[in-house]
């Protein structure tokens, strides 16, 4: 409880927390009040009566302008917020929570195999995670049946899965990719705590593994888990945005005609990473601000999580220092006398 109270007095943590929860809550509120309705601006005309081209700038439609469908970008971003944060939270939770149990299991029951398991899990690091996730999801998230010709025969590609299945698989895969490394990490943490003296004593007094885990390891592990959780939250967001640039995003896309009848991809969930992937191409056009909007929001989200992490770290450090009594400083004795020089010890 003490740590929690200190946390909310910490400026960095509080700012990060307020930004993230503020964004999330406002997005949910918008859903409840307006049911995610995105206002579209109709085709606008200039003073001479000529139609203006579709992505309107932030001067015509404040605050962020519109995309080429005429949708108000600020609202699109707001609608996407809850999906972004919720997806990242779910993935992070699925990543951390099973890893706790696997880590404990490795530590308590598989100690003999610890080294080989660690080495193999370490090898997973050398397979670029973005590439791995891309290769796995590329086929799974396919939306349209592709057909190609082999030996003069029309062959159809794999059938697309249903909408919710795709989302489910996306979340599960992103989570499970990191379970091995996370389990090893948590296993190491448990090992470090297990070496403490009081656990040895507790074991000699006959405590079971369960009791040690719940009574002695838990209080030390939970703060570490909070840090791991925040770090994974950041990592998940990064991975999601990387995958989006490669063209895979949550909820997939639908093809729709924009104001001028050109078919374009449109993200279903308006989730930020997906928007980033879709709008990157605007960087090369004369409306580059459109591509900057999602990445700036994502950066804000990541930086607030980072701020929470730094705040948590500093609070934990302070708590640690309090727990261990500081060594009494040795004060050099000052000899008071009127003479500038004096023999300290009388030689007998």
């Amino acid at each position: 409880m003490y740590i929690l109270k200190q946390l909310f007095l910490n400026k960095l943590f509080l700012t990060g927390f307020i930004i993230i929860s503020g964004l999330f809550l406002s997005s949910i509120l918008y859903f409840l009040l307006f049911n995610d309705r995105i206002p579209t601006s109709p085709l606008l005309y200039d003073s001479g009566g000529k139609p203006l081209p579709a992505p309107y700038s932030f001067e015509t439609v404040p605050p962020f302008g519109t995309d080429n469908f005429g949708r108000d970008l600020s609202i699109v971003m707001l609608v996407g917020t809850k999906y972004t944060i919720a997806a990242a939270l779910i993935v992070t939770f699925l990543r951390v929570f099973p890893s706790i149990w696997i880590g404990l299991f490795i530590h308590f029951f598989l100690q003999k195999f610890e080294r080989p398991i660690k080495s193999i899990a370490d090898a997973l690091n050398y397979f670029p995670m973005t590439l791995f996730a891309f290769l796995l999801l590329n086929v799974v998230l396919v939306q349209e049946v592709t057909s190609f010709v082999v030996d003069g025969v029309q062959v159809k590609g794999p059938e697309p899965l249903s909408y919710w299945n795709r989302i489910l698989i996306y979340l599960m895969l992103l989570a499970s990719l990191f379970i091995p490394t996370n389990s090893i990490l948590i296993g190491n943490e448990v090992k470090a705590i297990y070496k403490k003296e009081f656990i040895e004593i507790s074991r000699t007094l006959g405590a079971s593994n369960w009791r040690i885990v719940t009574k002695h390891i838990k209080p030390f592990l939970v703060p570490q888990l909070a840090i791991i959780f925040l770090r994974d939250f950041i990592q998940t967001l990064l991975l999601m945005s990387h995958l989006a640039v490669l063209g895979l995003f949550l909820g997939g896309y639908t093809r729709r005609d924009d104001l001028f009848g050109q078919t374009n991809m449109l993200s279903n969930s308006n989730e930020w990473a997906g928007l980033l992937g879709m709008w990157w191409k605007f960087l090369w056009t004369s409306y580059p601000w459109i591509s900057f909007i999602p990445i700036i929001f994502l950066s804000i989200l990541i930086l607030s999580a980072k701020g929470m992490m730094e705040g948590l770290n500093s609070v934990l450090m302070a708590a640690d220092n309090m727990r261990e009594p500081a060594e009494k400083r040795k004060v050099n004795e000052v000899i008071k006398s009127n003479n500038p020089f004096q023999r300290v010890k009388q030689i007998t």
Partner: protein, 288 residues
Amino acid sequence: MSSIFGVMTRFVYVVIGIILLSAFVGLFTNGIQIEFTLFVNNVIEIVKSLIFPENLIVLGPTKHEFSIFINFWDYYYYSLIIFLSALIISIITGVLITYIMILLPQKLNNFVSKCVSFSESLPDLFIIMVIQFSVIYYYKQTGTLLFPVAGSSQDNTYILPIITLALIPSFMIFRINLHLFNEEWKKSYVELARSKGFNKTDIFFSHVLRNMAPSIFSHSKTIVLYLLSSMVIFERLFNIHGIMTYMTSYPIPNIIAFTLIMFFIPIFVLYALITTLIEKNTGQRLEW
């Protein structure tokens, strides 16, 4: 001798890990087929084609089979040059920033290190976007293109991707360095050197850096991993035709395994050499 053995077992573990993962990817190439026999088949297939590289075959656009070695090495060297130069540049700039920070007064030092710790966690996509945009903006304003923003199949772009790729890792190295430096600076030999009248530059480059080098090296593994997973994005966004693009366009298990293993061999050789050198000179065994 034992260190060479250690490195070799490590190499074998990583190769096994890559083979298993590539075989796992093979389960997803035609829809999801979680079958153990298919997995085992994939593993056997991969091992076979690693031993006999002429088995590495891709299907061309006209469904014509050809060996990957027609153009594999071009992709390979291109990626390798970008990767290694980004690694080296990031380490050098990281050390240089640390040196500059040391010369600054303490208060400014704290402020800047806090800023760096935050900018280190900025998404790499943000940095790519800002850099690409500013180069284009400069081009629009003045008409001179500083660096080619994206590559094409004819001419390759080097400078911009390398700089961008090296930026965040150099911040990471700087943060690690600063931490190591603060610990090293408290030690008594530094105090002695300073009391003898050496200036900070001398002490930093001839004593402190030397003692920090092993730790910097063992931390550089995170940098390597970071660079690896960033490369995928960089190749897409800078339109680089490197091995990551190669793997995404031909997602066949044995090609993935072969390419990744080939890419790790230089890294391993580099690391094995440096570890043995450090062990000989300083007597420190390094874990990496």
